[in-house]
Symmetry: C2
Subunit: 432 residues, 2 copies
């Protein structure tokens, strides 16, 4: 058994208190063995956290990681025009190799900023899985199915591909990869396909992830068509439940919030994307008050434009207060929980907590910085003052993926160069 000691740091515990402690990791099982007073534990290898804050690895619960290739390609446009004029034409040109290097770039950025688990929605998922395997990170992957503007054969094939991908990839990378069945959204997948395939997914025991209620354009047509709120319709077709988590949930009313709570359906709040696309403000405090498990996601880098979960915590606290018209809403501790334990719970990983028995997924922040001085409250700093660049060590599944800001996985320079080259060529192809 090889043991890693994360030594001398202040440690964020599951109750969002902070105490000075050492953390002992079993690198073979990938689990945390013990958390104890400084000096009580010894390991074969030591990660110095003496100027640091040890936190659970952050969980990015909704992203499209390969979209890093489109970071800054098109901004400042409404969702519809942005998708139809900019994003979809370029995505139509994406090759498997593009998706691979886009994913690699995104995973590098995640490791650098302390994220150790992600839930991804995209296509060419084998490429993303290969990048995740190489990265050492933990991920929930899936093929996202769309049926609108397809003939029946094409639509059914896409839904089947989502099922098959989820079944095939589950448990890959020594269990670091899990999967979800992924109908894209309630407006981009036809009712007949949901009624056919959702029961199959449920019967196969597959968790489900989809976009829901992101914009008013995803609400009004459904209300007109079904005479019910979108999440009432989702419930009717069997989509809600403890193994489902929905991205966005911006435009949800009280009935829908109650429905999420009653069914145990999770919500992934993506505040930066919702602001940047002017989608609206999710009622996060009301979701929390109702008992809904709320996690955080960056969404794709094209609508953010980074994958830094510290930005997401800050944005969630900030916009959560605006949405509630209450400065005490969505406090620092709540957003830290959303980005850690809540995310891990929705993704189905035993991570998100620094405690014996949990996955050894953690990040160490370097507190030796002007913008983190003084240190009245480190939980406040996590939410409001820290940023991805403060992370100096990242550990996932017991393996050190970044030590003293140097990555131990990937050839980062080569990944960045390939990504730049492929991004340029992609835009050129799309412009032809």
């Amino acid at each position: 058994m090889t043991e890693l000691l994360v030594a001398g740091g202040q440690v964020l515990r599951p109750d969002t208190t902070v105490e000075r402690a050492d953390v002992l990791v079993d690198q073979d099982s990938g689990d945390i063995l013990a958390v104890d007073d400084p000096g009580e534990l010894t390991g074969d290898d030591t990660l110095d956290a003496s100027d640091g804050l040890v936190i659970p690895g952050l969980v990015n619960a909704h992203t499209h990681v390969a979209m890093t290739l489109l970071r800054g390609y098109a901004d400042d446009k409404p969702l519809d025009a942005w998708l139809q004029e900019d994003i979809w034409p370029v995505e139509a040109e994406l090759t498997p190799e593009d998706v691979r290097v886009g994913a690699e770039l995104g995973l590098v950025e995640m490791i650098r900023s302390g994220t150790t688990a992600l839930s991804d929605m995209y296509f060419h998922v084998d490429e993303i899985a290969a990048a995740v395997e190489e990265s050492g990170l933990r991920a929930v992957l899936g093929h996202t199915a769309v049926t609108v503007a397809k003939d029946e054969a094409g639509a059914r094939a896409d839904m089947q591909a989502s099922l098959d991908t989820a079944l095939d990839l589950d448990g890959a990378a020594d269990g670091r990869i899990k999967t979800t069945f992924q109908p894209h959204s309630l407006t981009t997948v036809g009712e007949e396909y949901l009624r056919e395939f959702v029961p199959e997914a449920v019967e196969a025991g597959l968790p489900i992830h989809l976009h829901a209620n992101e914009t008013t354009d995803e609400v009004e047509p459904l209300v007109d068509e079904h005479g019910a709120r979108p999440l009432e319709y989702a419930d009717d077709v069997g989509l809600l439940g403890e193994d489902t988590f929905l991205a966005h949930c911006v435009h949800v009313d009280e009935t829908e919030i109650d429905l999420l709570a009653e069914t145990g359906t999770g919500a992934v709040h993506c505040p930066a994307s919702n602001m940047k696309l002017a989608s609206g403000m999710a009622p996060v405090q009301r979701l929390l008050d109702a008992g809904v498990t709320v996690a955080l996601g960056t969404d794709g880098a094209a609508s953010n434009n980074d994958l830094d979960m510290f930005d997401e915590m800050r944005d969630a606290a900030m916009v959560g207060k605006l949405a509630a018209d209450d400065a005490s809403a969505v406090p620092a501790g709540a957003v830290v929980e959303m980005a850690t334990a809540n995310g891990a719970d929705l993704l189905g990983f035993e991570s998100g907590r620094i405690e014996a028995g949990a996955n050894a997924d953690l990040a160490v922040l370097d507190l030796d910085a002007a913008h983190l001085t003084p240190a009245h409250d480190l939980v406040s700093h996590l939410a409001y003052a820290a940023r991805g660049s403060d992370v100096c060590h990242t550990v996932c599944d017991g393996d050190v993926l970044m030590r003293d800001r140097d990555l131990t996985v990937f050839d980062e320079r080569a990944v960045r160069d390939r990504a730049s080259d492929r991004a340029r060529a992609l835009i050129d192809r799309a412009a032809e």
Copy 2:
């Protein structure tokens, strides 16, 4: 004449285009001498910008720099309770030495994140001026006067102190320090004192800076009392004009927006603080459409909780879209102008632009980073993806204040240690 060459970088020009160029700085006058094609210019000293983006030094147009001592001390509370229960009791204990070290810490953070000019509102202003002089930065300072809850003698003395401080300090630090007359706000300074002292300030040629329309609590009582909107009242007492800039302007109606435009009064948008305190969303796109000069400010570190102007650009673009319900509102180029040229214009400095004749106030960002890859659009990156930690060199008034992330001014370790000690002691005193 000692000349500094900022060599090999991509340069953000005043029209928010980016081109590869060298920038030659006269370190004696502190001005930019020339911007030319790479290789055309030579200097006595060279600052390598070959992997970098050269931008005008950022302008933090509304802050309380010494409040870094209260970073993370009290969060997640409404403005009124936060001020009365947390901030004011602690501020009452602040000694001149506390203000000095709090200012030093804030100035260190600013240099690290590429800010070269600030507009500050506080007290013990001599201490802040001394810290600014040592820092090498440019600042507009002033003593903030409050008359509510004071007897007449005390109220008049505070207003006089604001006038005297502005007159005494103007031009200090070889012209790097300018000043403003600073009535705190329209609700915290009585009408009789505004009617007496504002004309004196105007006659003395002093610019004016105050808080205005930050919360609905600063609007409704004034409407009740004066039968007019707050900025109509401000205009009536002589506060508006080309030498005045107002912090916040969250709750301004169309009449007030027109009034700002007609009088040439500037607005400083503080999006992070307005979100964190749930004050509301300023109508930034409407202000811009009306022709108002809008700059950006962090406000104090206690309501932000950092002094990183990259966060402020991102927040301004994000919340500006929400406020306008339009994803094309407050685009990247606009927030970059707000944080540079607009800020310099309001503060009265010849900075905020990389062009011959302007102050040599600039920052260089290291673009060699995963979260800034690929490079489709560097202006987008400035607004949405970059962060203060990407700044590697900072120059103000021709002097290099940070080179390769090492400060050439202050003993940063000593400043941080003193700040931590004083912050702890301050809270202990306030708790007694």
